[in-house]
Symmetry: C2
Subunit: 471 residues, 2 copies
């Protein structure tokens, strides 16, 4: 068996999620529990939590799937226009044909136009856009190409701690070296460039740091980076000749009124040609998050900047081995980047649906922060963006001992107890990485408001009991 | 840059296909050529060649995509029944939710029921079914888990020559050792077990052969293995303790009246418990081929037999890092394994459409074989199954010299000339592997009958000219 595969860990679907599945089966079999359902707050899966799909998106998808519907009066003209445009760009006018490995041409053009609008006119080139099978596929493909070397020349990949565990998993798989830089919990999980400097200097003793991964808005930490911070990071990447990976899948998920999303691409261009012609950047987006939450379609794209032509050639070759990303996911991505505009028939309904989802998420972000901070022994930074709370939990020494007796990380022990006693499934901080001796968990804010209130109340009650029990 | 990525080659979308794209752009720009369109006979992409999707499949997909249509009288009840069943098994009743990493439960049940029917009652267990992103994803994931070791203990993976180049590409990527066994062109590309013995013995000098890959029906070679041959292969795998990978994506594409598809799973069970409880097997299927040709949805499944529980755990973990296969592709796979049955409203139309596609393919297989064999300097084995002709071309010494002067493989030189002079894009045999000094190309038989006749006539004329030119 491949030892690098053995070394892979992925907490978001790890042992606690397997346990949740077992408990669900027991409930189905009629086994009595102190709760009647498992609430899967472990994964950012909006529609599984009851969020309704955006009507326009699904209308276009249905028209592309079954083009007979193009004659139906029940579908709006703007949806039909989008569907016709996608289909005319597909082989045989069908979603059932392979696309080019890089993705359907007109969809890459739409992505480039979207990026240009988003970034206030900074140009994007469709040749630099690659459609992907969700963002995970793009991230792992780029890392696969960049990693090389043995011994001290093994590639170092810098990732935030806490991180989204796709990064650590792919780094293990590729036998690269994970170089941790710590986000500053005392300071709303900010990224401090001095910490990047510390990390890269220490790493140079035992590997060759080549790649710097950034997640903004943060997962699991929910911070939104300031423009100043992004400039500092880009300057650092330029100094150290690091390839920047900007995971920006939560770009639509910014809730705090003091925060705005700034793309790395835009800031890079605005810093002038010394940066914009030299720093290598790949940025990632997805259909799975934002307001649409279309996880199942596995749509995504990446934009690459300053990629060496040889690497670009290798990228296309590598993508071609897997033929193409799912064309239905590409179509979903197209609708995300090319939504109805004012004057179009579907604009009003689309805007209403989008704002309803994002408005609710903003409410739930505030609600979660406030409620967690009322609980003794829990501290929660503001949820400026993304879809998760990542509160710090202060565990009594006796709980830590009890966990050790069960050969479990203390936060895993806590989360297992939470699951067993309340049915709420969250992911221990140890699955994302955290400073030694601190404990956290990640919980999504996706359940509907009333349900989320109940969940938070249950966590609070559990936590207070837990503290008493292990006092 | 990753040296293993650099070593990857994938001819089906390689330099000749890039050239085809350039020529298409030139035609669009109005540059005159001896032809008016490029015919992409390089890839098994049925719908791109004008094949219409199966109506029932797309109806169910549209219903799943936009469930409002469940109230529409324009959709048949049996399609609605399928759609409801799929949706009730999805999180939030939506294709937009992530599924379990192994795939939607009820779809895995339907796959197991299909396999049991196909194999005349040999049982299949849904726990052994993994839904995948096309078959390629399953094949590369299993290989990734199985490969290990360095130096003489590096894993050897046995593949047929000629092969489908996914295999060589993944082997390069994983830094495993490719162990070639040659199919017998003189004998309709049969697999001879003595050749397997030779290959494994020679390989043991420099690696640890662990995996045996079989493609049946063959790609690019189109042979259909006899039951006897499959028994011999299984016995050999048992003797040598090899993990069997059976690529059976063309299981519906058998044209020769003397041939039948036998699954490795069925034969394994019928050989008795010594084999059926010991030989490890993974077999693969896909929505992309057969009569449906739904390549763009990237649907597929694999069934694993006798997989060690530890490896099974690693498999689920590895799949979970990529979250899940596209749920729309899973739904497409469901309809392939759970089509309308006699008595259902859509049965007649479904059967007519299916038989029309398969009947046409059988006609085109015979037509292609017959026509190629009329051309001096071309020899083509019967196309017993799959979707390709892989004729041998006898190239004059002067042509081989001219190719060398251009630093090209002789069959690449031939295929480039064919493309430039006729617009027909086929893949040189060197991209699949062939015995030293022999030359071939792979051409799909997917164009509609009349167009295929024109294509074959053009290849014939080109070939005769080519022989004259380099005589």
């Amino acid at each position: 068996m491949n030892p690098q595969v053995k070394a892979v860990e992925y907490a978001v679907r790890g042992p606690i999620v397997l346990k949740a599945g077992e408990i669900e089966l027991e409930l189905q079999r009629g086994i009595k529990k102190p709760f009647t359902e498992v609430i899967r707050a472990n994964i950012g899966d909006a529609q599984a939590m009851g969020q309704q799909p955006i009507t326009f998106l699904r209308q276009v998808m249905a028209l592309c799937t079954y083009p007979n519907l193009l004659d139906s009066p029940s579908f709006p003209e703007d949806a039909k226009k989008r569907a016709r445009r996608i289909l005319q760009a597909c082989g045989g006018n069908s979603l059932g044909s392979y696309s080019a490995s890089q993705g359907v041409n007109c969809i890459r053009e739409d992505v480039a136009a979207y990026i240009t609008r988003r970034d206030g006119g900074v140009p994007a080139d469709p040749d630099n856009i690659y459609l992907t099978t969700g963002a995970s596929d793009g991230i792992s493909t780029i890392l696969k190409i960049l990693v090389s070397g043995g011994g001290k020349s093994r590639t170092g990949v810098m990732i935030p701690i806490p991180q989204y565990p796709l990064y650590s998993a792919v780094i293990s798989e590729l036998d690269a070296i994970q170089v941790n830089y710590y986000l500053d919990e005392e300071n709303c999980w900010a990224l401090n460039v001095n910490e990047l400097r510390r990390a890269v200097q220490e790493a140079k003793d035992h590997c060759d740091p080549k790649v710097l991964c950034i997640i903004n808005p943060g997962n699991p930490t929910g911070q939104v980076q300031s423009r100043k911070c992004i400039e500092d990071v880009i300057h650092f990447a330029w100094e150290e000749k690091l390839f920047l990976l900007a995971d920006e899948v939560y770009q639509d998920n910014v809730y705090s009124p003091d925060c705005r999303f700034h793309s790395f691409k835009k800031v890079l261009y605005e810093m002038g040609p010394e940066y914009s012609s030299n720093v290598e950047l790949a940025s990632f987006h997805s259909t799975s998050k934002g307001y649409m939450g279309e996880c199942g379609y596995r749509g995504g794209y990446m934009e690459v900047i300053n990629l060496h032509p040889e690497i670009k050639g290798q990228l296309v070759k590598l993508l071609s081995v897997r033929l193409c990303p799912p064309v239905s996911g590409q179509a979903a991505m197209d609708i995300v980047v090319n939504p109805p505009v004012p004057g179009e028939e579907s604009f009003e309904q689309f805007s209403r649906e989008k704002e309803s989802v994002l408005g609710n998420l903003a409410k739930k972000a505030k609600l979660t922060e406030d409620l967690f901070n009322q609980v003794p022994g829990i501290h929660c930074n503001p949820l400026q963006g993304a879809m998760y709370a990542f509160p710090r939990i202060f565990l009594p020494a006796k709980a830590v001992e009890a966990a050790q007796a069960h050969q479990m990380a203390p936060d895993m022990f806590y989360c297992m107890k939470l699951l067993e006693e309340t049915g709420i499934c969250v992911v221990p901080g140890s699955g994302f990485g955290q400073r030694e001796g601190t404990y956290h968990f990640r919980m999504t804010i996706l359940p509907p408001v009333e349900k989320l209130k109940t969940v938070l109340q249950k966590v609070k009650d559990f936590h207070i009991n837990f503290l008493e029990k292990y006092a």
